[in-house]
């Protein structure tokens, strides 16, 4: 238990292979999918992705097989994926 602390990117690393929910900075965009990998910038490769865009209160979903997500506008990562509606 000496290594009680978990580095932030170690937490992301633990999410590889499982579902993750990505909230983007200052845009009304979210993505959920299976995290396949990431790099030091937290650019992420996701599979079986659902992109959710909310414009004018209208919710639009787009399904994509695989995505390389630019880490630049990522705000929050939630392990386990998006909550059920």
């Amino acid at each position: 238990m000496s290594t009680g602390r978990l580095l932030p990117l170690e937490l992301v690393d633990k999410c590889i292979g499982s579902s993750i929910w990505v909230l983007m900075k200052d845009t009304n965009t979210e993505l959920t999918g299976t995290l396949k990998g990431f790099d030091d910038f937290v650019n992420m490769v996701l599979e079986d992705v659902t992109e959710i865009r909310i414009t004018d209160g209208e919710r639009k979903e787009v399904k994509l097989d695989s995505v390389l997500l630019n880490g630049n506008n990522v705000a929050i990562l939630v392990p386990g994926g998006a909550p059920e509606e």
């Binding site: 396949k36 990998g37 790099d39 650019n43 992109e51 390389l68 630049n72």
Partner: protein
Amino acid sequence: MSELTKEEPPAAPAAPPPTSVTPSTYLKSILGRPILVRLHTGVTYRGILACLDGYMNIAMEQTEEYGVGGELESRYGDVFLRGNNVAFISGDTKAK
């Protein structure tokens, strides 16, 4: 059946996920393939990925531009997209 098999190998000690696909390996895998590029503005470009770099600058061929609503806006032969605009790149399985 199960009695015949040798004892299970011990569970791999916290093995790293064998199927980790890093961004750079993903990019190599979609080179020359149909892709979909979404910008932060919501505009979408579909085309063939000619080349790209670590900034996500992208050169595309046979490019189609789709507006935020998804309607086809225009077509270009070759397109250079500066990487700072790119929200994500997707291997475009639905492309012809």
